[in-house]
């Protein structure tokens, strides 16, 4: 059998500043198979984003092992399509040029990069905005552009950190369905961070529930809803039951 896309074993993270010590991650284990859509949910401030940065290779764990495609030895930067919470589009680049950013970093010839960006924009319904500046786009469009930038850089493994957290409910749902289409088209493995239970259920094959800080895995839940997913499926009895379960689990962890 192939190595899993991502394997995380016993990862901990402790921040020290002077004498202060902050335990953020307490031994996290998780695995994502190729082509799988996995969500992480947890109370706010539980260290999801730290775990994310560690997987992307931007930060290093205090201890533990992380393997991407079975490789735990080499640096992990460049091996994931990383999308932070804000779209972080560069305001001086047009939509097309923003989507190309990762290819510029990889020194892909401009002409080729432009072509690939345009193909992607066309395919996912953003072609008419290719020459717009991000400041002229709506919130939902910015997130979609940022997602395409992520996909063009690395389509095999996407790390998405609450990409739709700041959108209104309707735009959010539209973006979720759009993401599902995209995921099915490009066959990526996805690790998706959210604190929205319904979002996690709509999108994922599997959900990891994290505890409050220091974070550990409280539960792993398989979402047995048929694909392709539709929002109505969240009204099925088994879905409602699961949602209640997850909600009460999270509520216990959430402090205000």
């Amino acid at each position: 059998m192939d190595a899993p896309k991502l394997l995380v074993q016993g990862v901990t993270k402790i921040f020290r500043t002077g004498r202060q010590r902050l335990d953020v991650l307490a031994s996290i284990d998780l695995a994502i198979a190729a082509g799988e859509f996995v969500s992480l949910i947890g109370p706010s401030g539980c260290g999801k984003s730290t775990l994310f940065n560690i997987i992307a290779g931007v930060e290093q764990p205090t201890s533990g092992m992380i393997a991407i495609d079975g490789d735990a030895e080499h640096v992990r930067t460049g091996k994931t399509g990383y999308m932070p919470q804000q779209p972080l589009l560069l305001p001086w680049r047009t939509v097309e040029e923003n989507v190309m950013l990762g290819l510029d970093v990889r020194h892909v010839p401009r002409k080729k990069a432009r072509y690939e960006a345009n193909e992607l924009l066309k395919h996912f319904g953003l072609a008419e905005f290719a020459h717009n500046y991000p400041s002229t786009l709506s919130g939902g469009m910015r997130q979609r552009v940022a997602l395409l930038r992520t996909v063009l850089f690395n389509r095999s493994f996407l790390l998405l950190d609450e990409p739709f957290g700041a959108l209104d409910a309707l735009t959010r749902l539209a973006c979720q369905m759009w993401l599902l289409d995209l995921w099915q088209e490009v066959h990526s493995s996805v690790l998706f961070i959210t604190h929205d239970v319904r979002e996690a259920m709509l999108l994922s094959d599997r959900i990891y529930v994290l505890s409050a800080r220091p974070a550990r895995v409280l539960r792993i839940v398989d979402v047995d809803l048929p694909r392709p997913r539709q929002p109505e499926q969240l009204a099925l009895e088994q879905a409602v039951q699961l949602e209640q379960e997850l909600m009460s689990l999270l509520l216990k962890e959430q402090s205000i």
Partner: protein, 256 residues
């Protein structure tokens, strides 16, 4: 649109005309000797009559200004990048930059003549000393204001330090750079004139000094007028270049 923008200058125009009219009236009604204060009409007349000589000197001053600004831009950008490269360099260089601005140029300029001579070089040094500081400081602040999340994103793409600088930080610092450049542009002509004033063969500074020494007050005022117009034009030119160079910063919808 253009008319609308011109209309924005209306109040300034009205104020200037009013002040000029009061000045003209004061000189005529008060029987002020033109040796002390020539009337605006007399200044314009003198400017027209002596245009050949004044033009020659203006070209010299303009040359010094533009060359000095060019050096200041290169020096300012270089310093800004150096300040940005390491905290150690920043702490080492920044105080020196500030000290460089406390040097009274009135004391330094004659020394420059003594060390270097009467050619264009001491004037370039004075212009550069006036102009590099706002450019360097504004640009360094612009570089430092890049979002840490954006740095993480570039880090996850395994971008090199130079790629990060070139693709993200420098373009992001351009609005700040232009703010600094606009301040520098207003100083630059005065700087050149000051450099000439201390000693030289040609230029508006020399012209003013000669005119003062021969009590041709009206010619001093004519030269001042040219100086003011020159500064305004430079300021305007920088703004125009900024609009062309940073269309995204000025609310342009799309790039054609």
């Amino acid at each position: 649109m253009k008319l609308h923008r011109l209309a924005g200058y209306g109040p300034a125009f009205v104020l200037v005309i009013t002040l000029l009219a009061l000045w003209e009236l004061y000189v005529h009604l008060g029987q002020v000797s033109p040796l002390y204060l020539p009337a605006p009409s007399a200044i314009i007349q003198a400017l027209i009559n002596n245009w050949g000589v004044i033009y020659d000197n203006t070209v010299q001053t303009l040359l010094e200004t533009v060359l000095g600004m060019g050096i200041a831009i290169l020096l300012g950008l270089l310093l800004a990048v150096l300040l940005d490269i390491s905290g150690w360099l920043r702490r080492a260089i920044y105080p020196l930059l500030v000290v460089s601005q406390t040097i009274p140029i009135i004391a330094l300029a004659p020394l420059l003549l003594l060390w270097i001579g009467y050619d264009i070089r001491p004037k370039l040094i004075v212009v550069t000393l006036y102009c590099f500081f706002p450019i360097a400081v504004a640009c360094a602040d612009g570089l430092a204001s890049a979002e840490p999340e954006l740095m993480n994103l570039l880090g996850s793409m395994r971008a090199s330090r130079w790629q990060t600088l070139w693709l993200v930080r420098l373009p992001g610092a351009m609005p700040s750079f232009f703010s600094g450049l606009r301040i520098a542009a207003t100083y630059s002509v005065t700087g050149a004139i000051f450099g000439e004033y201390v000693g030289g063969f040609k230029g508006l500074g020399i012209y003013m000094e000669k005119a003062t020494n021969s009590f041709a007050t009206v010619l001093v005022f004519a030269a001042i007028l040219v100086t003011a117009v020159l500064s305004l034009l430079l300021f305007g030119l920088v703004s125009v270049i900024e609009r062309i160079a940073l269309p995204w910063y000025h609310g342009t919808v799309a790039r054609s």
